[in-house]
Amino acid sequence: MSTRLSKGGRLIDRSAALEFSFNGKRLKGYRGDTLAAALLANDQMLVGRSFKYHRPRGIVAAGPEEPNALVNLGSGGRLEPNQRTTVTELFDGLEAASQNHWPSLEFDVGVVNNYVSRFLPAGFYYKTFIHPRPFWKHVFEPIIRQSAGLGSAPKDRDADRYEQAYAFCDLLVVGGGIAGLQAALVAGRAGARVLLLEQAAHWGGRAPVDGDVIDGKPAGDWVDAAVAALEGMENVTLRARCMAAGVYDHGYVLADEKVADHTPGDGRPKHRLWRIRAGKILTATGAIERPLSFAGNDIPGVMLAASVRDYVVNWAVSPGDRTVVVTNNDDGYRTAIALREAGLAVPAIVDARANPAGDLVAKARSLGLRIEAGRGIAKVKGGKRVTSVAICLQAGEGAVIDEIACDAVAMSGGWSPVVHLWSHCGGKLTWDTANACFRPDPARPPLNHDGGAMVHVAGAANGAMKAAEALLDATAAAEAAVTALGMKPKKAKAPVAEAVAEGPMEAVWIMPQGASAELKAKMWLDYQNDVKVSDVQLAAREGYESVEHTKRYTTLGMATDQGKLSNINGLAVLAQALNEDIPQVGTTTFRPPYTPVTLGALAGEARGEIFQPLRRTPMHEWHERNGAYFEPVGLWRRPYCFPRAGETHEQAVHREVTNTRERLGLLDASTLGKIIVKGPDAGKFLDMLYTGVMSTLPVGKCRYGLMCNEQGFLSDDGVVARIDEETWLCHTTSGGADRIHGWMEDWLQCEWWDWQVYTANVTEQYAQVAVVGPNARKLLEKMGGMDVSKEALPFMQWADGRLGGFPVRVYRISFSGELSYEIAVPASHGAAFWAALHAAGAELGAMPYGTEALHVMRAEKGFIMIGDETDGTVIPQDLGLDWAISKKKEDFLGKRGQQRTFLASADRWKLVGFETLDGSVIPDGSYIVAPGVNANGQGKTQGRVTSTYYSPTLKRGIAMGLLHRGPERMGEVVEFNTVKGGTVKARVVNQVFFDKDGEKQNV
């Protein structure tokens, strides 16, 4: 059983006992514990079930590489699934629950999958997806949906807040072990701005656990002194609990700081996401120990050897009373020695090497430990906990020599440098034969904007596995990085770690090397996704040669741990099966994030009301007070309608249309784009931009204009007003102002940069109100201050003046077909002007109307709307707008594009109106069906609806749409399909449904 030792534990505070619960059971731990350490201290080795076979799973590791010990943490608004217990700091009141089991952790129904495992081989999903189809849908899918899945998704709103911050530094050092600390010291002394990140809550990494001696003192003392020295430097910032998640182009790094994971509800942000821009990055991210592949290596109680040592030394937790160590390197002996020194039994050290030698081996011998050289584990026995191991010759096929009773197994298959951050931006790896691992290739680093190395690497992450090597490597790497930054490293005495003579490791990918198929089917590579040696070998037999394909076929390394333990073992097995060298097979691609980053941190403060910036017109508050129902238009929020008590939105829209047509409507048109174009060449410029002629527009007049892109397709429209000899004001669509302003600047800066033209986007400088309806003039006359008569201000003219004391510019334009004035006032006057119009207009029947009434009225008049009638494939000629295209101009943007044969052809879908025979409204998105079927057997189409509404004015459905050669087919009846099935019959008509001669607006 696993238990808490009576003495020791360098990270725990025995005076601070904490209570927590696991699956409802109340348990005790200490401050400084991880959840995993506290669970082991309470003999809770079984913590979950595997994904596919629902096999019992125990804690394997002591760090972020943990594949098994994932829990649902917290509850309600603080529930987080898939939290790794090995990096979760214990706090008082922590609630955890195990995952992926039903009905309970101890008794799980899904484990039947284990007994049918031979029917769930590698590529199971692919194979059953293919054939037979019905079998998948009715048999496999329901079973898999019931039993698969990790964790449960939170249902409540996140109770915590998250924030994001920026940081800049010359050198970013990732990893607070001895290599990272030494690198930071070198760079800090050289005067560089240094940011040092450590994912754990404490500094020093493995060295203090491994018993290293630096400058004649325990490594822990050196670490404390180094941290104190760094904290004393003004140019150095240290950040613990901060995980560098990804390295991106040109020194950009994302890091996730777990500010309050261990103090939930204390008011601080839960996480802080750092966006760091670093001159250079130095990764001292250490190495991860590899499991060994022997039968039963997934049974709870089988753990990584160094992690066993971590639990003993850091948290005074014994994973078992009797621990068998199995290793292919000297580091495993450290665990045996640590266990023995803690007073625990180590029945045997099973060493795959024939002749282990070195300081640690000698020490183990002197302690009287039994060393089984040249041996391996044939099989681990046990169900929910290890009970014994059977040992065999490593060179053989697994014939059992001896069986040793034990309750834990500590395995070490060697170490893999953490190369993730090096690789994220294209750093290449090289195979290190001596350590049987990939490490960064110094000749092929990821590059910065200047073509120099962006990432440097030091310590175990660089393959310098021993403390003495790591410190030397860190000094050299930091000096190189600082020099590359143009600074000079200071001379200082480098710390020296006591050398430990270690014998060479020996790569072991399968234990025993000649294992039978039956044994291989119980050798786990990926614990979380249940991928075994036999699965990878099957994939190879089925022709999967690329490591990327094998990964996806077998799901090796695709679990939440992203293959931190399984990757190298898996590709070594694949290489063997393909009879190739490991470097030839290569690795899968390392992608950010290094460990999962919660979505809350990525969203930061951008949620709820401040999800995105909102644009509000000066009248926005009035709209809110008056019950407006808003719709998004780009980042603007515009009133869709103003429903009154008891009204549906549809009824409100109908009332607004009718009132505007019969009396008086007021529209907040402030969002309309307004761009000033000014200068000696402004007229020439606008003639290039618009399809029509703007240079000849007289001062004081307005003209409707169309803009196309170079391909000829319609992109925006609006009314242009000539302000003075050199100045035009261009109105754009509400959503198009910024885009069109950018478009103008593009041509002025990059193509016609010698033309003297200045543009300014003044959209937000003016509030604009459309005063619309038969009583519009009466209202302005009542406001008083300027002549707005038909004679003084005819249709398509504008005038400056004052109305009711407000400085105004009045445009006599109409998008509704009614008598209409669009009145611009400086934005600061917008709210007051709007209120004044309502006050004065009350007796004239004034009502506000929203965007939907605007749409209905423009459709009744057959006016097009950019985005409804256009979709980037429509030219103005398709919409019958030939009158707005100059035939005289030699050139304008889009002219050459429109001359292309397929656009110049008459054989196109063109705009017409539609009246349903039964008066109903054609559904949005309907297509006009044509006889026959296409090559895919689908019904042919000959057009589609673009705008369709119920017209309260005409009391029937009206629509506009594009129909093949539409204008030539007036009076013809066509059929629209509907989503529900069946068709709607409609007659082709002119798209102007209301007041064809414009009598209402010309008064």
């Binding site: 950009y252 200047d450 950018g742 050459r896 594009g897």
Partner: protein
Amino acid sequence: MLLIECPCCGVKAEETELSPGYEAHLKRFGPGSTDEEFEAYMFARKNPKGVHFERWRHAYGCGKWFLAARCTATLEVFGTYPAQVGEPPADIIEKIKARRPDWKGYK
């Protein structure tokens, strides 16, 4: 996330401050051009693995368009220069030749 210096205002701008404008040094073909010329202007874009000339706008900064010479494979930026030129400046050409001896020129 790229870091590109705006030659107009001198700010070392992050990619999020910039909007891309695709290939630089295009010659516009308007009315009177052949179908082939127009097609090449409109659609035939270079997509090199290596040295490339691009248009960028410092959209959330000074608002100016500028041009950049960049390696699409390593993301090395050789230099940036104002948009009001017909071809890349000589010093940038020299720099690219020094860094990429095999480079065949910008055309």
